[in-house]
């Protein structure tokens, strides 16, 4: 391994600009004559719009335009769409309700955009926005997914507020397995609603060039090409080739910046209308009521086991809240990203899952770090832990008895696991967490009136998203391959254009590590270009821990072509047969001789084209590839959480966190560990602190960072992180992906630890001090079955 190659903890290229304040986020970009957009949003969760009076606002200082949904419709700007078709059990397609960028006639959630003011400055826009008079007729609202079907109708085309009633698996076989079971564990689970809260708020800056009829959008997006495609092809804003989307530095995404939102549509439309650039940057309060939220499931789950603790079957019924409109990929999250992972790391013969997706008067819900997989893992790992306790079997032992041990393994829920060693990660985690010494620590804690608990989460996820044909057959509207272009300059330095997008993941570093190692050139001589539809031909962006497994595989494929072409050039230079050229450590050698050409010389010769006939061999050294994966990848591991609970206050302290993950090949262990840390923090946040709460009128009462409890430094411990490795067989580098693991594994580990400590399963997330204290008051001593 070289100092900057694959496996090295190379310090990041991107850091210099961030630590010196020179990052260029969307709100840092400035355009001449730019104006500001200020949105007027519904204060009601559900209301008819009886009238909008913009006359006073239009006369306010600095106001350039005041626009509403009527004008948007008049200009034939199309609705936002959900791009993944799900069919109900009865074969009917999902009920996708119209989602205009500005509401027409009715608002469906608090924060729904009703009008926009375009003004010279933001404060002038705000002043004018206050003068817009909207006559609302409030309607009853429903926010609880469990009550959605009997709630007030939200969209005409969706009776009982039902989007789809979907199922996966063989219900009859599952019923039969349950009938023969010795033991059945049943749980009711709420997977709490979360607000992603990337620290950079969403922003958009749109500019129209009337001379070329070209629109440009700077946007906080995780996938600029998909954004352009949807805005061009579905919203109908402009032809695709007349729209450029630039995602400059993006300050965190966690899923929430995958989607196409009303604000960028309105900024583009308004920029063309007023003939000046239009900028919008959310304030945090706006983010809370407009960024797609995550999770929000209500589930009943059952696990059937035989007398030896062997799992026979699982039955799951989930109601998923998709909010007021179907966000871009919302339909796939509680279906193909959720039910397909219900087998966990276990050999479970039969699984049946039903999912009802419903509309409510809440902010749309879509993918948030892990997206469906954290919800699945929570169901599986709570069921297994509780079953072990009820049967009097050690929870680690029950897991071991049921682990998948041979590969490939076909689960009853679509996925075919291709590689893993679940015993290895469990063993290593047990060791690192000193589980053997736990009872001693528990006794010691008891002497200080503290309760200690230990919780496991042996999770699995499906990443490397995704084989295009496979997702296409499941309803996905796009292919999920990735592209790469490798441009070798005449001086031998290299630019790699990738369709993935980094918003904290460090691709400028890790992708350069790959190229540096493969071509034997200095790490410094490689630049990674991403996030601009004018530079990168096409790409699917970054989410689902796909950039390494899919994006870097595309780079490998392009590098293969570069090497092949460079060998041809070298053969002409060295007057040898192409088949005799060996490329190693940045040098082309004629096999069995001391004749060689350096990388830089070959690059130069490819461009000056003096040593070969341009008619036989094209000059230049640039190659493109599109890589479509052959399977998902399956990162997996074991997280162990140890908590100490203050009996008097109910406050939970995480005293020890051990994570052992199998991500396949690790390109940069420093970056991978950072991803694990961040994921765990979000998972702990979900388990202990975070929860979006709506009141009965549909007001988001956790609508600011004062009310929504984000994890702070003092809420979290330092983490003990270890790795095991089985290579992913489906991609050339053996990468599985690491971005979501922590968020997927952590909630179950925390709740398993807390319920172990308090001796009761009766706790929901977030397990705040108050909730734990109340559970302690009402706890009945647990009895083994």
């Amino acid at each position: 391994m070289s100092a900057t190659g694959i496996g090295a903890a190379v310090r990041r290229k991107e850091d210099l600009r961030f630590i010196t304040g020179r990052g260029q986020y969307t709100d840092d970009v400035i355009r001449p004559r730019e104006t500001r957009a200020v949105f007027v949003r519904s204060p009601h969760a559900h209301a008819k719009i009886k009238g909008i009076d913009t006359s006073a606002a239009k006369t306010m200082p600095g106001v350039i335009a005041v626009l509403t949904g009527a004008e948007l419709a008049n200009d034939k700007i199309g609705n936002l769409i959900c791009g993944w078709m799900i069919h109900s059990k009865d074969g009917t397609p999902m009920k996708m309700a119209p989602h205009p960028a500005l509401a027409v006639g009715k608002v469906n959630h608090q924060g729904d955009a009703v009008a926009v003011v375009i003004a010279e400055t933001q404060v002038q826009g705000r002043d004018a926005a206050e003068k817009i008079k909207i006559d609302y007729e409030p309607l009853p609202a429903v926010t609880d997914p469990g009550k959605a079907k009997s709630g007030p109708p939200i969209h005409e085309l969706a009776p009982k507020n039902t989007i789809y009633e979907w199922s996966l698996g063989d219900a009859k076989a599952v019923d039969a397995a349950f009938a023969s079971a010795k033991h059945v564990t049943k749980l009711d689970i709420v997977n709490n609603r979360l607000v992603p809260n990337a620290i950079e708020p969403r922003a958009a800056l749109a500019e129209y060039d009337a001379g070329t009829d070209q629109l440009t959008l700077w946007n906080t997006t995780q996938n600029p090409h998909v954004s352009r495609l949807v805005i061009a092809a579905f919203v109908g804003m402009a032809p695709e080739h007349k729209l450029r989307v630039i995602a400059p530095d993006v300050g965190g995404g966690f899923g929430s910046k995958i989607f196409i939102y009303p604000e960028e549509v309105v900024c583009l439309w308004a920029a063309r209308k007023v003939g000046r650039p239009v900028r919008w940057t959310a304030d945090r309060s706006e983010s809370f009521v407009t960024d797609a939220h995550g999770r929000d499931h209500v589930t009943h789950a059952e696990l059937a086991l035989d007398a030896n603790g062997k799992i026979l079957a699982m039955r799951v019924k989930t109601i998923a809240n998709l909010g007021a409109y179907m966000s871009t990929f919302s339909s796939s999250v509680p279906t193909y990203l959720y039910a397909t992972l219900l087998s966990g790391q276990y050999d479970i013969p039969q699984i049946y899952c039903e999912v009802d997706a419903v509309y409510t008067n809440t902010v749309p819900v879509d993918a948030y770090r892990g997206a469906g997989r954290p919800e699945a893992t929570f169901v599986v790992e709570r069921l297994v832990e509780v079953a072990a306790r009820q049967m009097g079997i050690d929870p680690a032992d029950l897991r071991k008895r049921n682990f998948v041990k041979s590969f490939p393994h076909q689960t009853p829920v679509i996925m075919a696991y291709d590689a893993g060693d679940y015993n290895a990660s469990l063993r290593k985690a047990l060791d690192l967490a000193d589980v053997k010494g736990f009872n001693k620590r528990k006794r010691e804690a008891a002497r200080h009136n503290k309760l200690r608990g230990l919780g496991y989460s042996t999770y699995i996820e499906a990443c490397g998203i995704a084989p295009s044909q496979a997702v296409g057959s499941l309803g996905c509207g796009v292919g999920l391959w990735e592209s790469a272009e490798v441009r070798v300059n005449p001086t031998g330095s290299v630019e790699v254009l990738t369709g993935t997008h980094a918003h904290g993941q460090g691709h400028e570093t890790t992708f350069a590590q790959l190229v540096s190692e493969r071509l034997g050139i200095p790490f410094e001589n490689v630049s990674i270009v991403h996030g601009d539809t004018d530079k990168v031909q096409f790409g699917m962006g970054t989410y689902g821990s796909r950039s390494g497994a899919v994006g870097m595989s595309a780079v490998v494929k392009a590098l293969d072509k570069i090497e092949a072409k460079a060998k041809k050039v070298a053969a002409h230079m060295l007057e040898a047969a192409e088949g005799d050229i060996v490329f190693k450590d940045g040098k082309f050698t004629v096999a069995g001789t001391d004749k060689s050409a350096a990388w830089g010389d070959v690059a130069l010769n490819a461009y000056i084209a003096h040593k070969f006939a341009g008619q036989e061999l094209e000059p230049g050294l640039k190659e493109t590839s599109f890589y479509d994966p052959t399977n998902f990848t399956f990162p997996a591991g074991c997280h162990i959480c140890e908590v100490e609970i203050d009996r008097e206050t109910g406050k939970t302290e995480i005293v020890n966190w051990t994570a052992v993950d199998d991500f396949g090949t690790v390109v940069n262990p420093m970056i991978v560990e950072g991803q694990v840390h961040g994921g765990i923090a979000q998972g702990i946040g979900q388990a202990l602190l975070e929860g979006a709460i709506y009141d009965q009128d549909g007001q988001l009462v956790t609508g600011s960072l004062m009310d929504y409890c984000m994890p702070h430094a003092h809420d979290l411990p330092s983490f003990q992180v270890g790795l095991t490795e089985t290579k992913a067989p489906s991609n050339p580098l053996g990468i599985k992906g690491c971005g979501e693991a922590g968020a997927i594994a952590a909630p179950a580990a925390v709740i398993n630890a807390i319920t172990d400590a308090i001796g009761s399963e009766d706790i929901t997330m977030p397990a705040t001090a108050q909730a734990v204290w109340a559970a302690l008051k009402h706890a009945q001593p647990r009895q083994a079955a």
């Binding site: 961030f18 630590i19 020179r22 709100d27 404060v123 950079e200 708020p201 993006v250 965190g252 840390h677």
Partner: protein, 165 residues
């Protein structure tokens, strides 16, 4: 409009602002110093932390006019454009104390204030508690804590410049 003048990163600056203009707006929009960020509207996230007369302050909750005559230091003022990095900046890079980078300027400015108040030998608990005013969504704080401890030590070593110079 009212005129305001102050020293920002060692340079005298002046501008005409509305009374309600926040310091962060003055820095970002008037001076185009965009390293100072806005991540919330309730003074929780700390992405906007700068130093006013050597003390860490949230520039999203400070009016520009309050800073008349003050010495303001932003992230851009910690190191010369082509000079060596401040040890705290270097420590964040060395210990991978940042991912998306958005909270980072505020984190570094807050870290320097922790050093000012608690010295160069910082234990984990102190750092975690003192970071209460700064939120990071990417790192889980693990490496930020390591970076601040190392940065504080490095500041003592090389006779490095102190935070509140």
């Amino acid at each position: 409009m009212a005129s305001v003048s102050m020293t920002v990163n060692g340079k005298a600056v002046a501008g005409d602002v509305e009374a309600r203009t926040l310091l962060v707006q003055f820095l970002r929009e008037n001076l185009r110093l965009t390293g100072t960020h806005v991540g919330c509207d309730t003074s929780q996230c700390g992405a906007c932390v700068v130093h006013i007369d050597g003390i860490a302050v949230k520039s999203c909750t400070t009016l520009a006019l309050q800073c008349e005559g003050a010495k303001v230091t932003t992230i851009e003022g910690l190191a010369e454009p082509n000079g060596p990095l401040h040890p705290m900046q270097e420590a964040f890079r060395e210990h991978h104390g940042l991912q998306c980078g958005f909270c980072t300027p505020g984190m570094i400015m807050a870290a320097l204030d922790i050093v000012r108040r608690h010295g160069n030998e910082l234990d984990e608990r102190t750092i975690r508690e003192q970071l209460d005013g700064n939120i990071c969504r990417c790192t889980g704080y693990h490496n930020i804590v390591k970076a601040i401890a190392a940065g504080a030590k490095a500041m003592a070593k090389g006779g490095a410049r102190q935070a509140a110079e």
